[in-house]
C-alpha cells in the first residue's frame, strides 16, 4: 500500500467529545485556565488546562481576544485583558472597596498595621482589599483571595452574623492551620456568641503562626456586609491600641456604606 494516499476525501467525522458543555461554557473554561499562578499562558497551555482540543481553543481564544477579554502579548502568550479588569470594577466588591479606601488609609496610618477588608462569599471570606503601610510588604492574601471563616478575625466576625445554615456548613469540618487553630465546632460557636456580644473578634496564631488580628463588622442597611481587621505581629507591643482606631474606622465605613446598595453576595451558593 503506497504511503501517499493522494485522495483521502473520506474524512472521518470528528468524535464529538462534546458531552453537554455549551459553546459558551467552553469559552469561559478558557478564561478559567488563568489563575494566580498562571497569569500568562500559551495557546496549548490554555487548551490543556481547560480540557479543550487545541483547534477549539484556538478558535475560542481568538474570539475572546476580539472581545478584549484576553490579550495576546507580543511574544505570543495570552493574558487576561484589561477589559475584564474594567468589567470587574462594576462588580459589588468594587463599590465597597471604593467607599472603604479612605477609611482603610486612615486606619493604616494611625495603626501602622496591615488592614484587611473582607466579605462573606459562600463558606469563605473574600478579601476585598488589603492595605499595608508603605514598608510592610507582605504579598500574602491579596485582594481576590480567600480566608477561612473559622480561624481568622474577619472570618469569625462574618460567621457570627451569617445565616445558621452557612454557619453549620462552615463548622462541619474546620481545617487546622496551626497548633492554635480551634477545630471544635462547639467551642467556635461559643466564641461566635461572645463576638456578637462584644462587637469584635480577635484571634492569635489560629491561622498563621506569629500573627494576631482583630476584626469588627461593617454594617449596611441589611445587616453585616463586611468585616474590617487589623493584623499585627504577635511580638508587637500595645497591640490592643489598634482596637480604638479600628472601631472608629468600622463605624465611619458603616456610615458610608449606608448610602450604598450592597445586596447579593449573600445569597445561596448556587442554584
Amino acid at each position: 500500500m503506497p504511503s501517499v494516499p493522494s485522495v483521502p476525501p473520506a474524512r472521518r467525522p470528528p468524535i464529538r467529545t462534546a458531552p453537554g458543555r455549551s459553546a459558551t461554557s467552553r469559552a469561559l473554561s478558557a478564561l478559567d485556565a488563568f489563575d494566580d499562578g498562571h497569569r500568562t499562558l500559551t495557546l496549548s497551555a490554555i487548551a490543556r488546562r481547560a480540557g479543550l482540543p487545541v483547534a477549539t481553543a484556538h478558535r475560542l481564544v481568538g474570539e475572546l481576544c476580539g472581545a478584549r477579554l484576553l490579550h495576546r502579548r507580543p511574544d505570543g502568550r495570552y493574558e487576561v485583558g484589561a477589559r475584564v479588569w474594567q468589567l470587574g470594577l462594576l462588580a459589588p466588591p468594587t463599590s465597597l472597596r471604593e467607599a472603604a479606601l479612605p477609611h482603610l488609609q486612615d486606619l493604616v496610618i494611625t495603626t501602622g498595621r496591615t488592614v484587611h477588608l473582607a466579605v462573606l462569599e459562600g463558606p469563605r471570606a473574600l478579601i476585598v482589599e488589603r492595605l499595608a503601610s508603605s514598608r510592610t510588604q507582605s504579598t500574602r492574601h491579596s485582594p481576590g483571595g480567600y480566608l477561612p471563616l473559622h480561624c481568622t478575625a474577619v472570618g469569625k466576625v462574618l460567621l457570627a452574623h451569617a445565616p445558621p445554615a452557612l454557619c453549620a456548613e462552615a463548622l462541619r469540618a474546620p481545617a487546622r492551620y496551626t497548633d492554635w487553630t480551634v477545630t471544635d465546632p462547639a467551642v467556635i460557636r461559643r466564641q461566635l456568641a461572645a463576638i456578637r456580644a462584644a462587637g469584635f473578634a480577635q484571634t492569635s496564631q489560629e491561622h498563621r503562626r506569629g500573627t494576631w488580628s482583630a476584626a469588627m463588622p461593617v454594617t449596611g442597611p441589611s445587616g453585616v456586609v463586611a468585616a474590617l481587621s487589623v493584623l499585627a505581629p504577635l511580638t508587637a507591643p500595645r497591640r490592643a491600641d489598634a482596637l480604638s482606631p479600628l472601631a472608629a474606622a468600622a463605624a465611619a465605613l458603616s456610615a458610608t456604606v449606608l448610602d450604598l446598595d450592597l445586596d447579593g453576595m449573600t445569597g445561596e451558593p448556587a442554584s
Copy 2:
C-alpha cells in the same frame, strides 16, 4: 374552523436573525450591556441593550450566572459577578496597581493631593488607580475610566513617549474641554518635546477648570509603562512643592516596576 386549534404542530421556523455573530460573542455582548451607569439590569434590559431576543438572553444569562460571571440578586436583577472581579485581578493593570499602591499612599500623605496612576491604552489614558486623601472625595475619574491624552498631565507624559503612529492619531482632532485646552497639534508637539526634555508635564485647566496637575513617567524594562500625577486646585498655594515628592514616588515606583513583567497594553489597538 374552530378558534381552538388543539394541534398546531406546524411550527414556523424561527427567522434566523443571527447574522454572523458567534455564540460566544452573543454571550459577551450580554456582559457588555453593563457599564458604569448600569451596574444592575433586568433580563429584558440586558436583551435590549445587547440587541438579543429575550429568550436568547435568558439562556445566555443563565449560563453566565452558572459561571458566576453574572450574579442574580434576590430582587431578580442581575449584576456583574465577583468572579469577573477576581479574574480582572489577574490582568496587567492589577500588577501595576499592587506595586504602586504603597508609593501612591506615600505621595498622598506627603502632598495631601489626589494622585492618579494611568497607562496608555489605545488613544486614551486608562486610569489604573486614583487615591485621594481621606477627606478629598471626588468620585470623578475612577479607576477603569479614561482620560484624554492631549490635555491632561498623565496623558501628555504618555503621549510624549508613545510611538509616532499613536501620537499622530491622538493629535488628529484634539477635543476641546475648556477655554484653556490646547488644540493645535503643532503646539502640542512642541510641548511633548519639552516634556521629554524636562522629564515631567504640567497642565493648568486644560481638561477641567480650576484644576492643575503635574505628571512624571514611570519607566519599566522596556520604556515608559505608566504615568503618575498629582492634582491640585488652581488656588492651592505652593503647588510646585508637590514636584519633589512626585519625582521621588515616580523613581521609587520605577525601581519596583523593574521586577515586573508589564508587556502588552502597548500593542496595536486591535487586529
